[in-house]
């Protein structure tokens, strides 16, 4: 299992189009991936869950991946937000 704390530096935050891009990227990995913000943990592969997280510009979130491609998954998703 790999975890990383990421600060959202994308001005749009994790909404609409950036959220869709994030979920699309997450779906390219086999690992189970979650995103946590203020104690709320959601499935990174579900657009509706990511949208309910309400992660804005400047927020800190934690990405956790578990599976055969966990390192690549965390790396790629963290990169999308930075």
């Amino acid at each position: 299992m790999i975890q990383r704390n990421v600060k959202i530096s994308n001005k749009l935050g994790l909404h609409a189009r950036p959220a869709a891009e994030f979920v699309e990227k997450a779906n390219t990995f086999k690992s189970r991936i979650s995103v946590e913000k203020d104690g709320k943990k959601v499935n990174a592969k579900s657009i509706i869950e990511i949208l309910t997280l309400g992660a804005k510009y400047g927020c800190s979130i934690k990405i956790t991946a578990e599976g055969e491609d966990e390192a690549e998954a965390v790396e790629a998703l963290a990169k999308l937000l930075s």
Partner: protein, 131 residues
């Protein structure tokens, strides 16, 4: 790829939802609208719905999102009139219109099957808007 059809009484509702969904999926999805009546009044038109299903059906199926009441009846009527080859792979999603459209389009763009897209779209009902 599974096609997505947005059926609304109002073309403005359908067009606005389509605009939002297309911005999120960057035009990768087979999606269209069947909204309002042929003479531009509020309502749904089974003939128009049938025609749009035939247009976006690529063989992988079509999931239809509906807004209110008679949109369901018009869509059921349209599905009944389809050729047998399309009829069994055209399904109505029991889901909220906007959230359902977003989820359905995105999941379809990932290449998921009609059954998977329908289930994930209907799962939207489990989520609270206020988190």
């Amino acid at each position: 790829m599974v096609g997505i059809l947005l059926v609304s009484h109002s073309s403005k509702i359908a067009q606005g939802t389509l605009e939002l969904v297309e911005q999120m999926t960057k035009g990768k999805v087979r999606i269209d609208i069947a909204a309002g009546t042929a003479d531009n009044r509020l309502g749904t038109d089974a003939g128009m719905i049938k025609q749009k299903i035939e247009k976006i059906h690529s063989g992988d199926g079509v999931l239809v999102l509906v807004d209110l009441g008679s949109a369901v009846m018009s869509t059921e009527l349209a599905i009944e009139k389809l050729d047998e080859s399309l009829r069994s792979t055209t399904l109505i999603a029991d889901a909220p219109f906007v959230e359902g459209a977003v989820v359905a389009a995105l999941e379809a763009s990932f290449g998921k099957s009609l059954e998977e897209v329908k289930k994930l779209t209907e799962d939207v009902k489990k989520y609270s808007k206020l988190g």
